[in-house]
């Protein structure tokens, strides 16, 4: 099973990189964009003997304890 984990800065945290990308996009003509947030993306492969519930529990623990800093970041994930 594969987990795809998305990490981004919390909405309450200013994202200077996202802002810079947003400005650049506006400058080259993409004027209808209202916001850009930059984040990180992880693909994690799990051994096939794990159940979906076990994978879910592991992914949540990994995302919470390692992949994010909960002071500034949040995460979402998909399991396939």
């Amino acid at each position: 099973m594969k987990a795809r984990v998305y990490v981004s800065l919390k909405k309450s945290v200013l994202d200077p990189q996202g802002k810079t990308i947003h400005h650049s996009l506006q400058n080259i003509g993409f004027r209808k964009i209202t916001e850009v947030r930059q984040g990180k993306f992880f693909e994690i492969d799990f051994a096939s003997e794990l159940t979906r519930e076990e994978v879910q529990a592991e992914v949540e623990k990994i995302a919470r304890d390692v992949l994010t800093n909960p002071v500034i970041e949040e995460f979402s994930y998909r399991i396939e």
Binding site: L9, S12, V13, L14, P16, Q17, T20, V66, L67, N69, V71, I72
Partner: protein
Amino acid sequence: MKFGVLMFPGSNCEHDAYHAVRKVMGQPAEFIWHQSTDLKDCQAIIVPGGFSYGDYLRTGAIARFSPVMGAVRRFADRGGLVLGICNGFQILLESGLLPGAMLRNRGLKYVCRQVSIRVENARIPFTGLAREGDVWNIPIGHMEGNYTLDADAFQKLERNRQVVFRYCTPDGETTADSNPNGSVANVAGICNPHGNVLGMMPHPERASEPLLGSEHGVRLFQSMIQSRSQA
């Protein structure tokens, strides 16, 4: 006072820190490898600057899981002095030894220059020989020094006097222009509630000899040594 200087893969200020405490301050000092859990009876631990583990994932995020950091946590819990400089500060934040987190600098650039910082709390072992309001000239060199913490937690930090240094003008004014990285309330360094763990972005080891243009960093090391000689 015996100093221990941690070494992670990617640390690059450990020799400077060792030089400052060993040669400039004349204290015994040892390097401690990140795989070690033996702090060699050191009375103070320096978590040095650099790019531990290549700054992969987040600055300090991987170093946090090193065996040595478990020993450093136990040492800090017993009241041992822990000084995190630059990447060392980032590691202490990721480890939860200090509150808050670092964001990319406001200007998105690596900033490497001499800055002025004002001593906000002179009642902890790292600043005992300073006076509150003193201005030190110490260099910074970092990309992620934009300290952040949610508003409630930051108020608590201020109330507890845990803000130890703020970026300021040479006259000691904390203006927006004197803030090199966008850090909340110009924060350059903070301590834990007990004052025995300090994290700071400026490099005191790079301001410890006349040749380097400033000796203000010596006051910090001297304060640490003095704090334990009185104890």
